[in-house]
């Protein structure tokens, strides 16, 4: 068993405006890309962010070996309940997922 972080180049999360979060998995190779697309379902991401799959936009971009997820921000940027102004801190959640 390894983690996403162990097989990919980088996982990045960022605000896409104050109301959306976007997560980019830079796989780095077609082999890693294949492993990620097989193992990381939209459902797994939904569970991780305590939301439903229909809230998540998914882009499998083979040409870049990138898998991208976008979802309404778990907390609106800068609101009283927000803990991370720039949204970069959500990436480790995805990076630490297990890969079979």
């Amino acid at each position: 068993m390894s983690s996403v972080a162990q097989i990919v180049q980088k996982v990045r999360s960022k605000n896409a405006g104050p109301f959306w979060l976007t997560i980019d998995i830079f796989c780095g190779s077609p082999a890693a890309y294949a492993q990620i697309t097989e193992n990381i379902s939209t459902e797994r991401i939904a569970i991780l962010f305590q939301t439903t799959p229909d809230q998540i936009k998914r882009f499998d971009i083979a040409g870049l070996n990138v898998v991208k997820f976008s979802l309404p921000r778990p907390t609106v940027q800068g609101s009283r309940t927000d803990r991370d102004m720039h949204g970069a801190g959500w990436a480790p959640l995805v990076a630490e997922l297990d890969i079979n």
């Binding site: 109301f19 882009f59 976008s70 609106v76 609101s79 720039h86």
Partner: protein
């Protein structure tokens, strides 16, 4: 006719490579465009109408660009001046500009494009929610301290047509300041917007992203991006991957008056450093809409911090925090005449889950933990009073009545730190305009 746009960096305030800038100026750009802001630093800047960058830093970087403009003999355009692009930040940068021109003994024609909106008028205007927009009503809109509309290419073109040499624009889309001139020159519309999106963060679309300076050349069929610093290289991968950055959709980008579709775009290396892009499409919309951003005060805050180093307390920190929150509520109800729905107390455990909260998956054996107390109230005096009531718990609260009274580490005296007003973003909506300039104002001066 081709159009050459020089982009010195992703934002004024981030710095740029001077050698690369000189090289780009020598390549005779038709326009220098730089972004001055974004919502990324949070709602406080828009809420207060201020810049996040120091006046001193901004003056030095802006002066370098004013000198570059004078040498190149082309217009200099800044979008979203002063982080948030309110009228106050446009005027802030205008004042800095006057000082620079006076110091240098230069004159210039300056256009100021104002994007701020009257909250009372917006409260009466039909607004259309974008995806994941919060619920709003006219009271929400009226409670905003500042509302700005994002100008597109049309408003920048109106400013360019005045013959202004320096354009200081309030809130604009990141891309509008770059796309405006190529569109005005009749270059390929899809390429104009796509090249603008690729270029808006400067050299972030290339290797050595901190070098900043790039040139984007637009023509009738596509665009070419060339980073200017030594060692900086654009490749089809770095350029196409930039469409991922801070975009919820990497193929579609909505702008005033239509949307960009890059699904069919092709990226080709034309040498070791430059990339050619073709096949991007611009789809005009039936109506002309501009996006709005608004911020309002959500309360006033006082914060405190305590450090727990005692292993017994580190181990039982959540119980300790929950108990404090409960006891504070009882004390406040007992001693203050305060509606419990108007104030809020929170303890965030730094070293455990302060970044992710309930989403955190990992646990760890920490040596020490920080406990950040955040008190939110309708006014600062009340928030401070709540902080003073929180203080004794953070200092001495025991896990059980039986144990000896503990004392925890406070890094500061006084422990309470007044944070002032806390703001929140409340608009993620668009409004329709019959004419693109309807919600914007242009002031032109010769100085």
């Amino acid at each position: 006719m081709g159009t050459r746009i020089l982009i010195p960096s992703g934002a004024l305030g981030l710095g740029y490579n001077k050698t690369a800038l000189d090289r780009a100026v020598a390549a005779k750009p038709d326009l220098i465009a730089i972004d001055g802001g974004s919502t990324d630093s949070g709602p406080s800047y828009l809420g207060r109408g201020v810049s996040k960058y120091a006046t001193e830093s901004t003056k030095i970087e802006w002066q370098g660009l004013i000198e570059a403009r004078a040498t190149a003999g082309c217009p200099l355009v800044i979008g979203t001046a002063g982080t948030c692009g309110t009228d106050s930040t446009v005027d802030w940068l205008y004042d800095i500009t006057l000082k620079i021109l006076s110091d240098l003994g230069l004159s210039a024609k300056i256009a100021r494009l104002y994007s701020e909106q009257d909250t009372a008028i917006i409260a009466q205007t039909p607004l259309f929610p974008l995806s994941a927009a919060p619920y709003i009503d006219s009271d929400t809109v009226k409670s905003c301290t500042h509302i700005v509309a994002l100008a597109g290419a049309e408003q920048i073109q109106t400013a360019l047509k005045t013959g202004a040499e320096i354009i200081i624009a309030g809130r604009t889309t990141d891309t509008a300041i770059i796309a405006a001139l190529p569109l005005q020159n009749g270059n390929h519309a899809g390429a104009a917007w796509h090249g603008a999106k690729i270029g808006e963060c400067g050299a972030l679309c290339a290797t050595n992203p901190q070098s900043g300076v790039i040139l984007v050349d637009f023509d009738d069929t596509g665009f070419t991006v060339t980073p200017m610093a030594d060692g900086a290289k654009a490749s089809p991968h770095t350029v196409s991957a930039h469409m991922l950055y801070e975009n919820s959709d990497p193929f579609i980008l909505f702008e005033p008056g239509g949307h960009l579709d890059v699904t069919q775009a092709t990226y080709t290396a034309i040498n070791d450093v430059a990339v050619r892009v073709m096949g991007s499409k611009w789809e005009p919309s039936d109506t002309y809409t501009v996006k709005l951003e608004g911020a309002r005060i959500t309360g006033y805050q006082t914060i405190l911090m305590a450090i727990l180093r005692d292993a017994h307390y580190v181990e039982n920190v959540q119980i300790w925090c929950d108990d404090i929150i409960e006891k504070l509520a009882v004390k406040v109800a007992d001693r203050m005449e305060l509606d419990p729905t108007t104030w809020h107390a929170e303890l965030r455990i730094i070293g455990q889950n302060s970044n992710l909260g309930a989403l955190e998956q990992r646990t760890s054996d920490a040596t020490e933990l920080g406990v950040l107390a955040i008190l939110t109230a309708p006014d600062q005096a009340t928030a401070n009073t709540l902080g003073k009531m929180m203080n004794p718990y953070l200092l001495h609260h025991p896990l059980t009545q039986e144990e000896e009274q503990p004392t925890f580490a406070f890094p500061f005296s006084p422990a309470e730190i007044d944070r002032g007003a806390a703001y929140e973003f409340v608009l993620h909506h668009v409004m329709e305009l019959a004419n693109p300039m309807d919600a914007f104002r242009l002031v032109v001066t010769d100085v």
